[in-house]
Amino acid sequence: MSKRLSVIVLAAFVLITLAGCSKPPEMEMQAANAAFDAARTAEAEQYVADSYRAAMDSLNAANAMKQEQDAKFALFRSYGKSKALFVKAEAMAKQVGIDAAAEKERVKAQVTELMAQVRTALDAAKTAIDKAPKGKGSKADIEMFKNDHAAAEAGYTDAMNDFNAGKYLVAKSKLEAVNEKAKKIEEDIALATAKKTGKK
């Protein structure tokens, strides 16, 4: 009788031990959280907001699944699904981080291109001012163009500072205004030159 009871107790112990061996997916959870931290650092919430929210929901679902298993009696715990969800959340977060970096880079490249265009426009405006026909009656206009050009150059520098601070959209708006100003100077000078030539 005593021997049989011992066997039963031992069997139950082995069963419980084996069943209880299902370990929570700590490593997967940590990896997913790390991927999320990286995505946040890449400003994913700003650049790919929707994907970021979807990935966040996925991480929450993984955490919820783990929590559900944690709450169960040890014998019935199973972290397989939770583990899979963490792996999925990690993959999503990594992709979100990559997408955010790519989007940021795309905006940066766009502004860089605009910056080069504006630089060219400013230089062209300067050349136009230098070559503008001088004489009585035109000097005041030339001084006005010089003032406009100086203001545009200051605006360009300001936009560069925003660009260097990572404020690409603000820099873009400023550069567009500077571009318009530089082109206007060049157009006005061309118009004045044409008028003068026409007179002669």
Partner: protein
């Protein structure tokens, strides 16, 4: 059926019924979905940028509620209780709604403020434009005005991008530039107030001499853009005139576009062969001009390489409705023809920036 058996059956029925009722509790998945949707909606409304704190709070509450729901899911049927999870998720939904409303309010406030600042800046720019009178009164002031105008354009671009904070910042920068316009003009007015006494004296002396000699003299009031022909101390004719493109200041050096201010006289009359119809050359620079020029050079106000300038005339080809000369006084050809009949070599020509007190 024994009494014992019946009582056991009753007990089992009661426990079974209780377990059935309690075990029937369903997880509040609708509340979870509702909270998630509310949070998504808040994020789309700009809460991450404009109502971050309440947004994060809603996010945290949602997470707590979700975990509580999961915890209850993990419990055995009879012990499940979703009340806490349901409350938390409902709270998360409310908080997300608050975050959304706050974001919208802030965006609206910012947009309204930015637009009103833009409008105010636009009006101020127009006001200063009128003050500067489009005649390049002072290059320095014009320079600041240009910077402010660019600020307005930047503000408009930023508003189109819904970058309200940056737009308001751009207006603030533009206002700083306009302040400089005001400061430059205030300084100019102050200088003019000090000079006014001297200009009055010059006019008084010129008119007195004309009265005592019964002779002709010409007085040019730069601010009025008028030239007055005086005989015997009385104005006999008034001419409209145009000046140097930088007319509202004393001439300091060659090429500054300013018309000189001082007491001069005609040194040469050119009824024919002038580039500008007819011309009367005056004795700029006189002794006072030379002294001022030397002092300014010594003080470093003007470049050491600068020249004092010469060939200041009263000439024709005027009537262009703008200040365009290098520093001369331009009349219409008809007025020039009239003037030449009365003015010749030796006639006093007094040029003042303005004079409000005629003797």
């Amino acid at each position: 059926m024994s009494k014992y058996y019946r009582s056991n059956l009753l007990l089992c029925s009661i426990i079974g019924g209780f377990l059935f009722i309690v075990g029937c509790q369903k997880p509040p998945t609708a509340a979870l979905e509702g909270a998630q949707a509310a949070l998504d909606s808040a994020a789309a409304a700009g809460a991450v940028r404009y109502a971050l704190e309440p947004y994060r709070q809603a996010e945290a509450t949602l997470k707590t509620g979700w975990m509580e729901l999961a915890r209850q899911n993990g419990r055995l049927g009879p012990f499940k209780n979703y009340k806490m999870a349901d409350s938390l998720l409902s709270l998360a939904k409310l908080q997300a709604g608050d975050a959304k409303r706050l974001a919208r309010t802030r965006i609206n406030d910012l947009a309204t403020r930015a637009e009103s600042e833009r409008k105010a800046l636009f009006d101020e720019l127009l006001g200063w434009r009128e003050a500067l009178n489009g005649s390049l009164v002072l290059y320095k002031a014009e320079n600041y005005w240009s910077a402010a105008e660019l600020g307005l354009n930047i503000c408009e671009n930023l508003l189109a991008q819904k970058e309200y904070d940056a737009a308001i910042e751009a207006v603030a920068d533009a206002r700083q530039s306009l302040k400089q316009v005001g400061a430059v003009l205030a300084e100019e007015i102050n200088n003019q107030a000090q000079m006014l006494v001297q200009w009055r004296n010059w006019v008084q002396e010129t008119v007195s001499n004309s009265r005592s000699n019964g002779s002709y003299a010409l007085i040019v009031d730069k601010s009025a853009h008028r030239a007055y022909l005086i005989k015997g101390g009385k104005v006999t004719r008034t001419y409209d005139c145009e000046l140097g493109y930088n007319s509202a200041r004393q001439k300091l050096f060659q090429g500054d576009g300013a018309t000189p201010e001082g007491k001069y006289h005609v040194t040469k009359a050119r009824p024919y062969g002038s580039k500008y119809h007819k011309a009367l050359l005056i004795d700029y620079p006189n002794a006072m001009d030379r002294r001022r020029f030397a002092e300014n050079k010594a003080k470093g106000i003007i470049s050491r390489r600068a020249g004092i300038g010469k060939n200041i005339e009263i000439h024709g080809d005027g009537g262009r409705n703008k200040d365009w000369t290098e520093g001369c006084v331009a009349l219409t050809n008809e007025d020039m023809k009239h003037l030449m009949r009365f003015v010749g070599v030796g006639t006093p020509v007094t040029i003042v920036r303005r004079c409000d007190k005629w003797p």
